[in-house]
Symmetry: none
Subunit: 190 residues, 4 copies
DNA sequence: AATGAATGAGCCTTCATTCAT
DNA sequence: TATGAATGAAGGCTCATTCAT
């Protein structure tokens, strides 16, 4: 029975994910989720007691999955892979939870709740990229004075691109030139 | 009487601004604004018919004001000035409308309403910085291969820092090292 | 307009009074009152935000009215008048708010809210009767060792009769013999 | 197995008693009891189908137990014993079911359901005290014109004190002076 | 017997919006 | 123009009650 419950819980999470991807965070109501899941109001409350708690679950799940392997032989390959993943995410406007995630973070901030699932995710990304660059520097592939600052620079840039993609718009060409610019600045300075 | 009306309209806008700065965008209700302005419910509707329309007015007004003069003798001075303004904005978490603005943009996107006020503001900033860099390159102060890409890079980075400041957090030290990194990359490569 | 509002407020209080008299306290919902008053849900909330606040208003109003003059020439007349008023209240099972009042008091107690509109009313009654007896003793009409204790005795007895009338039942004959017993004990002991 | 069932039923009653003592009658839900008993929702329904039916069981059980022996050699001793028991009950605000009982009775009255369990209990008490007084009168210990009226007087007074203890408050001193007053009036009048 | 997930009714509360004055 | 009372829709939450297992 607990197995069945777990499956239902997962079903709710998966269904809710599409709702959040569709409508962002703040606009989603428990009723929306009830309707999307085609269950009763009370039924939803057995599993979750707010849209926040559902969304929380969604992002921690997403966080787990995103620790997935950055593959590549050389540091350059790994960085290229990482940046390409980022590019995909930047461009995946509709299907993604990014907008909802930002709304959620802003909302959390506005109510003074500095919850950290998202901060954690940011720092995990930062660590990953820092490790890649450091590896590249050690192998002589990259040149970098201050690895931490460069890693941060890349992360902020990605963040800026994601935001821009969702607000003012970015062209794929713009993204590409930014990515090339990063790679170039790591390699060029010999 | 149109004069009196204009003054009242302006009063509403100014008062509402503090509300949005306080609570973000989505959480603000017409009731909040009515109360902050200490006017009647019906009275507000004479001037605005939704929080969106009020916020719209606020940002177009803000856009006008932000074309502020970038002062400085040399391009380096101007860039330093510009970046310092950005830094102030990044750090001005509470008093600023930035959070509300992002919420608004995300909301607009989520209901498929791609507003351009924000895009305009972004491009104005981009133009400004591009002009500065170009000036610096021409005067020999800066070195840059692709001015447009570098200008975009700076803008996205600023955007990323603003977001991070409002979600995962940034230290002033981190901001400073990013700004120095930018300046360094423009000057260093002779 | 404030006049109209005051009239509406009063209308709600008066209508709600019949609802409470009918159904007691705990069973009454905001919806019940909305329906009895034939106004909108939101409309009721303009004036009151809970059944408690409405009931509170009802009892403070009732308290004011009950300070009404105890009439009579001699202390004996006054006491007889007072007791007769009490008798009426004891017997007025249906139309009265007494049941709702007790429910309210128990509820208040159970949530630890020792609000005192009711305690005040009790003490006002106590003071009244104490004054009457004291007057009678001084004029030689009554005989009493300890006026305070006798006054309390009468008040508790009245309370007991009211409760009994609403739970186990009392006959008018029983009430009368109790009232005569009180009067007798004040006069008899010369 | 009927034995096991009986034990479980008793367990529910005993546990529910503490819940009612805590929260009164009207505020207790089936869910509260389910949680207090740590059984399943469905499980509770096998034995009882409403809070009313549980509470009913509790009070009939209590009624059986309250026919406790009034001990004492002389009528004076017995009366003193009886009154002392009453005093304890008056003061036992928290641990007792009295509040819940009153709420229950008022609720029953408000829905027009005149239960007799309470009336029975009242009359049993009345009979007890009447017998004691009569015994005292016959033995010459007490003086009383109208035994029934005095017995009723005492019962109503006790009721009034119980209510007051649970609503407006009574001091132990007040109770004592009332009890002394009663005893005094039975003895004093020779 | 027992479990506890599921349902749906019922009440609460807040606002956007209208409208008579 | 301005007011603010009034409405009703919308969403939140909690339970009593049922039922498949």
């Amino acid at each position: 029975m607990s197995d069945k419950a777990a499956r239902k819980r997962q079903y709710i999470i998966d269904t809710a994910k599409t709702v959040f991807a569709d409508k962002g965070f703040k606009s989603v109501t428990m009723k929306d989720i009830v309707e999307a899941c085609d269950i009763s109001r009370g039924g939803l409350y057995i599993y979750f007691d707010s849209t926040e708690s559902i969304f929380n679950e969604i992002i921690s799940e997403a966080a787990k999955q995103s620790i997935e392997s950055v593959t590549g032989k050389t540091a350059g390959d790994k960085l290229a892979f990482f940046l390409n993943e980022q590019k995909k995410e930047i461009l995946s406007k509709d299907k993604s939870l990014a907008t909802a995630l930002y709304e959620y973070l802003f909302y959390m901030q506005s109510i003074g709740n500095s919850d950290n699932a998202a901060a954690d995710a940011f720092h995990m990304g930062l660590d990953t990229i820092e490790a890649i660059i450091r590896e590249g520097v050690e192998s002589g592939e990259f040149y970098a004075d201050d690895v931490h600052t460069i890693a941060l620079n890349i992360m902020y840039l990605m963040e800026g691109l994601k935001i821009a993609a969702r607000t003012t718009g970015v062209s794929e060409k713009d993204i590409d030139s930014q990515l090339i610019f990063i790679l170039g600045s790591l390699i060029a300075e010999e």
